[in-house]
Symmetry: C2
Subunit: 115 residues, 2 copies
């Protein structure tokens, strides 16, 4: 049994085109022994965003703090603290923080091979 | 892309020995198309608990609300809102809510075959 606080988890700035004002933490990872999937947490600062992209694995999301836009190739949907979201494998998606004040923080769980 | 609110998710009372004051919701499940793992949410009412048991799959937890005790066969650890936890496959574990006032609410993600 392992208990992990986000404040003790390293912050990594993703080096990808289309990323602005984002850092990633992985509180439940291979390093903790997780065999099948992992819990990553993304913080998007005000005005920031992840890339509009797709990949062959799903996202399982939970909004920890703030609110943000989940963008597909056809729509933008506002999500709020407490919402859950599912992004299908190979679905185009982007996360944006339209706020001028608060961070948008969310769990983004993926299969362990895509940690 | 599917957005789900917990307030729109059915509440199921687990029918197991050793369960007291618990209900389960599954906001991200097979029904949403999740292929590999699912997000279940357990609410433990004040004084309630899950069974002290083990099973061959892991738990990946995030505490949404309140605080609780995570019990193994050797220790009890207090977890608070915002904490993450990992329970290994085949590790003895129990979740308890020692509060007299507030619910203990947490995500409990598992491989999809154990939804």
């Amino acid at each position: 049994m392992v208990i992990v606080s986000l404040k003790d988890t390293d912050k990594i700035v993703p080096q990808m085109d289309g990323v602005k004002g984002v850092y990633k933490q992985t509180p439940l990872s291979k390093e903790n022994g997780a065999p099948n999937f992992c819990f990553r947490v993304f913080t998007i600062e005000p005005g920031g965003h992840t890339p509009l992209h797709k990949h062959p694995f799903e996202h399982m999301n939970y909004v920890i703090q703030g609110q943000g836009l989940m963008v597909s190739d056809t729509q933008e949907t506002l999500v709020n603290k407490g919402d859950f979201a599912y992004v299908e494998p190979n679905e185009m998606h982007q996360f944006k923080n339209p706020s001028q004040e608060q961070d948008f923080v969310f769990i983004c769980a993926v299969p362990i091979e895509f940690e």
